[in-house]
C-alpha cells in the first residue's frame, strides 16, 4: 500500500443530517462555477439560523462573508477542492455554520439567477423585464445547467434550492494512495497488476478534475496493454495451474479459518457499529486537518477498536448463505488495518502536501507548507501486525521543477 494518507475531500457534499445516514452524497463540483459560497459574518446570525429562527434569505448582503472570494480573489469560488474544503471547516470551526449540526455553509445561486436572467432577457429583447421576469428567466437557465443536481438536492434534503440557498459541507471522496505498483503497474505479487483507482501511481498527493479519465487512459490504454503482455509472454509455456495444488488449498484454508473465526466470536456489537466508530475516528483525527498528537491518539483508538472487534463482533446468519453481514464484517476487519495505516502514514509525513494537511505545517495565512527537502518520497508500506514497515521511494523530477502553488 502506498501513500495511504493522501485523501481528497470534496467540498460540495450534502451535509450531515443524522447518525443513521449511510453516506454524505456528493454533488458535482460544477455547482461552484455559478454558486457563491458564504456564511454569515456574525455568530449571532449563524446561531439563529441553526436554531431555525432565521433563514439565509434574511441575512442582508452586508452581513454575509463570501469567504472564498475574500481570501482567494483570483480564483474565488473555484479554488481547488482541498482549499475550499478547509476554508469551509475554518468557517464552521469559528461558529459560523448554518445547519442544526453547525457543519454547513451556503452555496448560493441567487446572483447567478439574476445575472443569467438579465442576459437572457437581453437576448430575448425584453428590455423592460421586471425583477420577477428576470428571476423566472434566470431560474430557467440554472435549471438547464444544473436541473438534475438541484432535483437530487431537493430529494435528499426536502428543501427547494431554487428558493433557499443550498447547504454544503466537505466529505471524503477519493484516496490518491492505493496498492503499490511498479512502473509496469505490477504489484509486489508477480502477475498481479493493479490499475485505476486501486493503485497509487498517477495522482501523487492530489487529484484534479477529470483525472479518472486520464488515469483510465494512462493505465488502461497506454501502459497495461504493453506491460501485461511482457509478463504473459514469459508465462505462456507454463502448464495450467492446478486449482487442487497446495498453494490453493493453503489459501482456501486460510480464508475459511478467517470466516470461521469471525462467525465464531458471537459477541454483542454489529459490524456496522464498528464501521461507524472507525469512521468517526478517521474523520476526527485523520480528516481535513491533522496533527501529530491527534494521529497518535487516533492510531491508539483504532488498535483498541480492532481488539474489541475481534473479541466482540456479532455476525448474524450462516456461512453458506447470502450473508451481507458476513461480507461487511470481513471488510470492516480490513478497514481497521487500512485505517491504522492511514494514521501512520499521516504521522510519518511531517509536512502539508496535497490531500494531507498537517496543522503544524502551515504558513501564517493557513496555507499548506510542503517540505520537499525531506519528504519528496512515496511511502510504500509493508504490513506488519505490530508495526508496518516503511519503504521510501525517492521522487526525482527531471523535466519539471517543484513549485509552490498559489491561488491568491
Amino acid at each position: 500500500m502506498a501513500n495511504p494518507c493522501f485523501t481528497q475531500i470534496h467540498p460540495t457534499c450534502i451535509p450531515v443530517s443524522g447518525e443513521y445516514q449511510s453516506k454524505l452524497t456528493l454533488m458535482s463540483e460544477s455547482l461552484r462555477n455559478d454558486g457563491r459560497v458564504w456564511v454569515p459574518k456574525k455568530q449571532d446570525d449563524a446561531a439563529a439560523i441553526r436554531e431555525g429562527k432565521k433563514t439565509g434569505l434574511e441575512i442582508p448582503e452586508a452581513d454575509r462573508d463570501y469567504y472564498l472570494e475574500r481570501r482567494y480573489p483570483a480564483f474565488g469560488n473555484l479554488v481547488p477542492r482541498d482549499v475550499a474544503s478547509r476554508a469551509a471547516k475554518t468557517a464552521c470551526d469559528e461558529g459560523l455554520g448554518v445547519s442544526p449540526t453547525g457543519l454547513a455553509v451556503y452555496l448560493d445561486f441567487d446572483a447567478a439567477i439574476e445575472r443569467y436572467g438579465k442576459s437572457r432577457a437581453h437576448s430575448l429583447n425584453e428590455y423592460n423585464a421586471d425583477d420577477m421576469r428576470i428571476r423566472e428567466l434566470g431560474v430557467g437557465v440554472i435549471e438547464e445547467k444544473y436541473g438534475n443536481l438541484f432535483e437530487m438536492y431537493e430529494k435528499i434534503t426536502g428543501e427547494d434550492p431554487y428558493v433557499m440557498p443550498m447547504k454544503i459541507y466537505p466529505a471524503v471522496h477519493y484516496t490518491m494512495g492505493g496498492l503499490w505498483v511498479d512502473y509496469n503497474l505490477q504489484t509486489n505479487i508477480p502477475g498481479l497488476f493493479a490499475i485505476g483507482e486501486a493503485n497509487f501511481s498517477d495522482h501523487g498527493a492530489n487529484r484534479l478534475g477529470a483525472s479518472a479519465l486520464m488515469q483510465g487512459l494512462a493505465d488502461g490504454y497506454f501502459v497495461l496493454p504493453y506491460t501485461i503482455g511482457t509478463f504473459l509472454s514469459q508465462e505462456i509455456r507454463n502448464p495450467k495451474v492446478d486449482p487442487e495444488g497446495p498453494a490453493f488449498k493453503e489459501q482456501e484454508a486460510r480464508s475459511q479459518a478467517r470466516i470461521d473465526k469471525i462467525m465464531g466470536i458471537n459477541g454483542t456489537k454489529s459490524a456496522e457499529t464498528f464501521h461507524r466508530e472507525l469512521g468517526k475516528i478517521m474523520w476526527e483525527y485523520c480528516g481535513m486537518a491533522r496533527n501529530a498528537e491527534g494521529l497518535q491518539k487516533g492510531r491508539r483508538m483504532i488498535r483498541e477498536l480492532r481488539e474489541e472487534f475481534w473479541s466482540n463482533v456479532y455476525v448474524p446468519g450462516r456461512i453458506k448463505e447470502y450473508n451481507p453481514e458476513l461480507e461487511k464484517a470481513l471488510r470492516v476487519a480490513d478497514f481497521l488495518e487500512l485505517g491504522e495505516l492511514m494514521m501512520l502514514d499521516a504521522l510519518d509525513r511531517n509536512e502539508s502536501c496535497g490531500g494531507h494537511f498537517r496543522e503544524e505545517y502551515q504558513s501564517e495565512e493557513g496555507e499548506a507548507l510542503r517540505r520537499d527537502d525531506e519528504y519528496a518520497y512515496v511511502s510504500a508500506w509493508e504490513w506488519d501486525d505490530k508495526d508496518p514497515i516503511l519503504h521510501k521511494e525517492e521522487l526525482i523530477f527531471e523535466n519539471v521543477e517543484l513549485k509552490t502553488r498559489s491561488y491568491k
Binding site: 449511510s22 453516506k23 435528499i156 456479532y314
Partner: protein
Amino acid sequence: MDNMKLKLKVWRQGGKYAKGQFVTYDLDGVNDHMSFLEMLDVLNEKLINLKEDPIAFEHDCREGICGTCSLVINGYAHGPMQQTTACQLHMRHFRDGETITIEPWRSRALSHREGPGRQPRCL
C-alpha cells in the same frame, strides 16, 4: 419529524428453495430525512441486537446511480415515487403509522423451473 412509527410487512425467505412468508415488524423512531434503505438499516441494527436475522437487501452506490437497490415497495418497483430509486426515496413521503409492504424484485424471465401454471403475480 423524527419519531415516525411504521409497520413493515417484509417478505422473508431463507433461500431460493425455502418457503417464504411475510413477517411484520414494528419500527418507531424513524426520522423523515432517512432514506428508505437507511430506515431498513435502523431496523437491521435492532434485529442484530436481538440476535435475529437482519433483512438482506442489495445496495451499492446509494446515490441513485447504479440501480442495485431493487426493492418492491407497496407493490411498486423502487417504491411509488417517479424516477426515484429506493435509496433516494426518503421517509418524508410516508405517513406516520403507515403499513409498508416490502418485497424482493421479481424476475423470472430466465427461469426454466417455472411451469406455465406457476406464473408470478404481475407487478
